[in-house]
């Protein structure tokens, strides 16, 4: 079985890179053919992942009922450091993989207007896809890091070469931010690696982490286990699943570093690395610049997929590996999310550049993701009821997918109009509804998805995240709820300035010809998906909920086991009566 999965997942990941290699041999002047080829490759990858979602795909089928990793394979890569070529899928990564292949395909279709260095563009574009898919599939932390960096370079060039007037500034800014995050991540990876020890895990845990292959017979497993135990030195590992087991079931990462447990620092470093990508305030300013300068298809990928890597990292790595740090920093993470939501919405309200506005809306919408992942309500009120957290984390995951549909849609819609009139000044639009009714209708629909209108995809994620917050903290909940007003304000005001009104106020009004078939073929699927996901969210929850619930249950279980040693979270709650208060009052009296 493992060899089947090896072939399947490796094909998914490396097919784009292979395509890039083939592209290198294309004659220079055949630009149209290159674009078709690249589109073909992305479509093929999408098809491959789509087949996995189908119920009758045999070995390839992604089984939604399984909560654990599936399609797992592990092959030795750098044995001296115990690094493996180790990949797998679960309900958290699979929807994101599907989203990636889908949005990449649409973005490639949106790349037709690119005329400069087409060959290089297509090659970088495909390598980028390989990098992103690799990150989502990798289960070895080192592999994860490698793919993380692989994804960085093509993006740098795609912004820096094919971007707008300030492209170099934007590209460097993007590069440095992400690199900085990467460096933090590397430090954390090494910290975790050098405190890990597989010998601390039981045989069952090692099997669950695929350190010992579950396909082996009972006897072989026992032999492998004995072999691991026989070592005199600690057995270090980069295996993410094993690190999760170590984090949740042992005190491997609790060593003291500068007065805090090691996992506290690791969590913080990883979190910084990931929220740069999300991005959360105050590490977000690379995003508007990158978006404004990037060409439309790259903006689509950036908003639709790359931002999700941050959320994925938090959900896959930060919390499961460092649960205690996650518990202690729960308020920090949630506050980060809420601040981003509010801040992004306010900033969006003040923008004059259409693309910048959409970029800030991403900051605001991705705040929901961070918040939903972080609402550690499992122990609020001393009652172990993780239901609200499940709702929050599922909401956050849904929000990632929903934002991955709505946001590329919004950027594409901005791109369509930019291509015609070559400006993005919000004060110089108006009246587009009369000139391009089909385009305007689709655009308004997609923007409403961003606004979180019921019946469209944005609503489901936002509402589930929002509803989950009350159990965690009342103040944050009220602030979260208030964002709906700001979101409505900036989206409606934008629609009014761009699409409504009697006439177009900017230059090149005569270029406002209706949408082409190619443009329609990109916008329509996004629009239809936005509706489908909004009306029938189970189509996404079906795949993700079992795994997300498992993650939450694991963490809640950890909290329950360690309840005695944990500070009471309810004590942090400003609305709950603080247990220390009477003592303080007495001290003051004396």
């Amino acid at each position: 079985m493992e060899s089947t999965y090896l072939t399947l997942l490796s094909t998914v990941v490396f097919l784009p890179a292979l395509g890039a290699l083939v592209l290198a041999f294309f004659p220079r002047e055949k630009t149209e053919a290159m674009k078709y080829f690249a589109l073909g490759v992305t479509a093929l990858v999408f098809l491959l992942t789509l087949i996995m979602a189908l119920p009758s795909a045999g070995d390839w089928q992604f089984d939604a009922a399984v909560t654990d990793m599936q399609k797992v394979f592990s092959v030795g890569w750098i044995p001296s450091f115990n690094i493996n070529y180790f990949m797998g899928l679960d309900g958290i990564s699979f929807p994101l993989v599907l989203l990636t292949t889908f949005v990449t395909m649409l973005s490639m279709a949106a790349s037709w207007p690119i005329e400069k260095h087409v060959k290089a563009y297509c090659i970088l574009f495909l390598i980028l896809e390989t990098g992103v898919l690799g990150v989502f599939l990798a289960l070895d932390f080192f592999l994860f890091y490698v793919f993380w960096e692989v994804m960085l370079l093509p993006m740098y060039f795609l912004i820096g070469v094919w971007g707008g007037p300030r492209r170099e500034y934007a590209a460097i800014k993007f590069f440095l931010y992400t690199l900085l995050g990467g460096v933090f991540m590397l430090i954390a990876i090494l910290m975790l690696y050098f405190s890990s020890d597989l010998k601390m895990l039981s045989k069952d845990q090692l099997v669950a982490a695929h350190v010992i292959s579950p396909e082996l017979s009972e006897g072989e497993q026992a032999a492998r286990f004995a072999e691991i135990q026989a070592h005199t030195t600690p057995r270090r590992t980069f295996n993410i699943l094993a690190l999760q087991q170590l984090g949740q079931h042992t005190d491997a990462f609790n060593g003291d570093v500068l007065g805090k447990p090691l996992q506290w620092w690791a969590f913080l470093l990883l979190l910084i690395g990931f929220v740069i990508k999300v991005p959360s305030v105050p590490l977000h300013t690379w995003l508007p610049d990158a978006h404004v300068e990037a060409p439309t298809p790259i903006s689509m990928i950036l908003a639709g997929i790359l931002l999700k890597l941050g959320g994925y990292g938090i959900i896959r790595i930060c919390y499961p590996i460092c649960p205690q740090a996650g518990y202690e920093l729960a308020y920090f993470v949630c506050a980060l999310g809420v601040v981003s939501m509010v801040y992004g919405a306010f900033a969006a309200l003040a923008q004059k550049d259409f693309k910048r506005l959409v970029a800030y809306s991403s900051v605001s919408h991705m705040g929901y993701v961070v918040l939903g992942i972080g609402v550690w309500s499992a122990v609020a009120g001393n009652e172990f009821n993780a239901d609200a957290w499940k709702m929050g984390m599922n909401g956050a995951m849904f929000q990632m997918i929903a934002h991955g549909i709505a946001s590329p849609g919004m950027f594409f819609m901005v791109g369509v109009i930019y291509e015609r009139v070559h400006h993005r000044n919000l004060d110089q639009f108006g009246g587009l509804f009369a000139k391009m009714p089909l385009y305007s209708g689709l655009a308004i629909g997609i923007f409403f998805a961003g606004l979180g209108l019921p019946g469209l995809c944005g609503f489901i994620g936002e509402v589930f995240v929002t509803l989950s917050v009350w159990s965690f903290n009342h103040t944050l909940a009220v602030v979260t709820a208030s964002v709906v007003v700001l979101t409505a304000a900036y989206i409606l005001w934008t629609l009014q300035r761009v699409y409504l009104g009697p006439e177009y106020k900017g230059p090149h009004g005569d270029h406002l010809h209706p949408m082409t078939t190619r443009e329609l073929a990109i916008a329509l699927p996004l629009f239809v998906l936005a509706i489908a996901m909004g009306v029938y969210p189970q189509m996404v929850f079906h795949y993700m909920t079992p795994s997300v619930n498992q993650t939450v249950d694991d963490l809640a279980g950890w909290a329950q086991r360690n309840a005695a040693n944990l500070p009471q979270m309810a004590a942090f709650d400003p609305t709950a009566p603080a247990p220390v208060a009477p003592a303080l009052v007495q001290a003051e009296i004396q």
């Binding site: 239901d387 609200a388 599922n394 009350w470 909940a477 709820a481 007003v485 409505a488 009104g501 709950a576």
Partner: protein, 818 residues
């Protein structure tokens, strides 16, 4: 027909037909007949179908299946015979299935339930169930479900019927949109008026979606689903109000409507959060969602438990939430412990905190209603919403959108504590007064009606807030008939004279008699005209009921007596401004001859619906029909509101049971008061506008400050602009600046710093490091060149140097060793 299986199907189809119409028009609208005319036919047919299905559901399914008590719960022993085994409770039978379903798991409770039933036998009939799930996480579940009681069925019939009338009317009114249109209100930059293609089909597309969303609110079986359709109604009204997208005023009004509504939704979300966090369910009724045979109690059953005889009780979940810090980790608190906590209602007690949670949850939901039903302080959007085409106003301001808020208060009534109800009453009272006063001076015919709507909605809220559940819902239904009539009449006038300004009208009854006299019927209905104790128009009955309940509330709570006086004063003002409107429009001499000369009666498709509605506005509330509205509503009365209830936090707060207000001492007094204030308002209008005995302009001059204040609508728009809009934009700009200046400033200066360090590094490399290396090299070179003089090129000399050197070395070494 078995209502349990039939009603969800009938009403479900009635609900979905407009959605189908919307989808079809969206896809094929422009190609439907000539210029999209078919869209109007399709939408009308769709809503007509819904109306027929709803009426069937009402008269042929609901009415035969359930008997009802004509006045209050005296005859409630008679109850639904239908079998409700899959819908929680629905009848009072001690049948085994019910016992097993609801309480089989808990013997103790089941016993309590039996004793409770002996006290209180009547069970409100309803049908509840789920269609499909949106998401389920652990026990938390949110789905698309239904809750059908007689209120649902009545609202369905009312909404679909009025909407059908409005659709017919709109086919005539929107006729212009079938052709190329010149919009005289929009001037382009080249000085011409805007020409645009007609958008007939789009109007009906929105109208269909609107009906679908509204019916969705009414049929919704849980509060989250209400919220879903609540938002959809909001966005439909956004499209409809902003129908003339080219007009800045229209798109502004649309934005305002949606954003102000979202402010209300903000409160509603908080309410939802509290409910899901503490109760773990959104469902109204008791449904067996997971199909395991046990019925999960809905919100209503949790708040008004059978064990407590359906009186308000703070649910366990809220008590536990309030006692969070008391509960030891992992220990399940016992029922006795929870009861003990619940009883701690003194200051600082857990029970009090829990009670507060219930109040805040209720107020949160009410916030949404404040937005949707345009109550103070969120009433500002409704008058601006007049920018939409008139049929929209009729739909938005009568049967649907604004009714949604009042409907939800009525639906969610069991969860409101007496304190919450008091807030609702006060908000309603303030609203009805403010709006009525503004309506006195407005001259835009639609705006007068808009403010009148706000004022009437205030009445309904007031009624609900003082315990008059059926009075409030009754007024909601009668108001829907006469207000849609009034709006459509005003539309007919506007259609004829092409202006909204009443100062340019006058004498129009000669030109358009149908419109004039149907509107007169509407004015009489809203004024509540009738022969005391004999018969009256629809408003007569519902307004009397409200005043009687307010009077009864005043008797129990003298300190809140002003609620009654304001309501009575409001009734007088209502009569005054409505007849002011009628006289200014239809009576007297024409003020603008150009407009008058072109005026004409509207086509049949427009005035036939007016006649139908006028007849209904007169007769719909008559109590002597075999199926009277009051009796139907009484059947849906929330459990627990048959008795007088008392507040906990506010002392001396008593909500008298509604049947008390039917007793002669309240009822007669209320009738006389209503008649008197109505006539005095009418009299004043006749004095000023009918007979022109007094000159209104003169009065306005004399009371200039008051007049200006009212003319500027109490300066709410200016106030909000100053308080909210400007600060928000200010903060937004500062945030954007913060990004640019501070964050990017730090980042960019870090980058600069790095470059400076790099340059320093470069300099030091060049001058220090390289300087040293180069210096060393230079010194070596210089020494070398100096030594060059020793290089003579003669072999003998070199050999001599070597020999001397070697000898010297040996000498030195030998010396050193020894």
């Amino acid at each position: 027909m078995d209502p349990v299986t039939t009603l969800p199907v009938l009403l479900g189809i009635a609900w979905l037909v407009p959605l189908a119409s919307f989808t079809l028009i969206l896809l094929f609208g422009p190609r439907m007949g000539k210029h999209g005319q078919g869209a109007g036919v399709l939408a009308t047919a769709a809503i007509g179908t819904s109306a027929i299905l709803s009426l069937i559901a009402l008269f042929f399914v609901w009415v035969p299946a359930y008997d009802w008590a004509p006045e209050h719960h005296a005859a409630h022993a008679e109850h639904g015979a239908a079998d409700h085994h899959d819908t929680g409770h629905g009848d009072a039978g001690h049948d085994d299935a019910h016992e097993k379903d609801a309480h089989g798991a808990d013997e103790h409770k089941a016993e309590e339930h039996k004793t409770a039933d002996e006290h209180h036998e009547w069970r409100k009939p309803y049908v509840a169930g789920e269609w499909y799930t949106l998401g389920q996480f652990g026990k938390l579940r949110i789905g698309i479900s239904y809750y059908i009681d007689s209120l649902t069925v009545t609202m369905f019939a009312m909404i679909t019927f009025i909407a059908t009338m409005i659709h017919f009317y709109a086919n005539g009114y929107m006729h212009d949109e079938l052709h190329e249109i010149t919009d005289h209100e929009v001037t382009l930059s080249n000085g011409h008026h805007l020409h645009r293609p007609g958008r007939f089909h789009r109007f009906f597309q929105y109208l269909s979606l609107f009906c679908f969303s509204m019916l969705g609110i009414v049929i919704a079986g849980n509060i989250a689903m209400v919220f879903v359709f609540w938002e959809l109604v909001g966005i439909c009204s956004y499209f409809l109000i902003g129908f003339y997208i080219e007009r800045k005023s229209a798109s502004n009004a649309a934005n305002k409507a949606f954003i102000v509504n979202r402010v209300g939704d903000f409160g509603m979300i908080i309410g939802l959060m509290i409910l899901i966090a503490t109760l773990g369910t959104f469902s109204f009724g008791d449904i067996d969602t997971d199909g395991d045979g046990t019925v999960e109690p809905g919100i209503f059953s949790l708040v008004r438990t059978e064990a407590n005889n359906h009186a308000l009780v703070v649910p366990d979940g809220m008590v536990r939430a309030a006692a969070a810090s008391e509960i030891a980790a992992g220990v399940e608190p016992s029922a006795e412990q929870i009861a003990k906590w619940r009883a701690e209602t003194g200051p600082g007690g857990i029970g009090r905190t829990a009670y507060w949670l219930l109040i805040v949850a209720g107020l949160g939901i009410f916030c949404g209603c404040v937005g949707k039903s345009a109550q103070f302080p969120l009433h500002v959007w409704l008058p601006d919403a007049m920018e939409g085409p008139t049929p929209v106003s009729a739909l938005v301001h009568s049967a649907t959108m604004v009714a949604a808020g009042v409907y939800l208060v009525g639906r969610f009534y069991p969860v409101f504590t007496p304190e919450t109800l008091l807030v609702i009453a006060i908000i309603g009272c303030i609203t009805l007064f403010i709006a009525a006063t503004i309506a006195i001076v407005a001259v835009d015919i639609k705006r007068v009606l808009a403010y009148s709507t706000v004022s009437q909605l205030g009445y309904m809220m007031l009624a609900l807030g003082v315990g008059g559940w059926s009075a409030g819902m009754f007024h909601l239904i009668t108001h829907a008939f006469f207000k849609s009539l009034l709006f459509m009449c005003s539309g007919s006038v506007i259609h004829a004279v092409h202006t909204n300004d009443m100062t340019k009208m006058g004498g129009l009854r000669h030109k358009m008699p149908f419109t004039a006299y149907t509107m007169l019927a509407g004015c009489l209905a809203i004024m509540g005209a009738g022969i005391p104790f004999m018969i009256g128009l629809s408003g007569y009955y519902s307004k009397d009921a409200i005043l009687a309940q307010a009077l009864s509330f005043k008797a129990s709570n003298p300190q809140w007596g002003f609620l009654f006086y304001v309501a009575a004063a409001g009734a007088a003002i209502t009569a005054f401004y409505m007849f002011r409107l009628w006289f200014m429009t239809f009576a007297g001499k024409p003020r603008d001859h150009h407009a008058y000369d072109h005026a004409h009666e509207s086509p049949k498709i427009m005035y036939y619906p007016l006649i139908v509605l006028a007849v209904l506005a007169v007769v719909v509330a008559w109590p002597f029909w075999p199926v009277s509205i009051v009796a139907l509503l009484e059947q849906a009365r929330p459990e627990g509101f048959h008795e007088t209830v008392n507040g906990v936090l506010v002392s001396n707060l008593t909500h008298p049971a509604e049947h008390i207000s039917h007793e002669p001492n309240f009822h007669n007094q209320a009738t006389w008061v209503a008649t008197f204030v109505g006539l005095s308002g009418l009299g004043l209008a006749i004095v000023f506008y009918g007979l022109s005995l007094l000159n209104p302009a003169e009065v306005a001059r004399q009371f200039k400050p008051v007049y200006t204040f009212l003319w500027n609508k109490w300066y709410f728009d200016e106030l909000y602009d100053y308080l909210f809009v400007k600060p928000t934009l200010f903060v937004a700009n500062r945030v954007a600046e913060f990004d640019k200046v501070v964050i990017d400033g730090i980042i960019d200066s870090l980058a600069m710093l790095t470059r400076m360090v790099a340059r320093l590094d470069d300099l030091s490399d060049r001058y220090l490091v390289d300087g040293f290396v180069n210096g060393l090299a230079a010194w070596t070179y210089a020494t070398g060149s100096k030594l060059r003089s020793a290089e003579t090129g003669r072999i003998r000399q070199y050999v001599m140097f070597i020999v001397v050197g070697t000898v010297a070395m040996f000498v030195l070494i030998s010396l050193y060793i020894s």
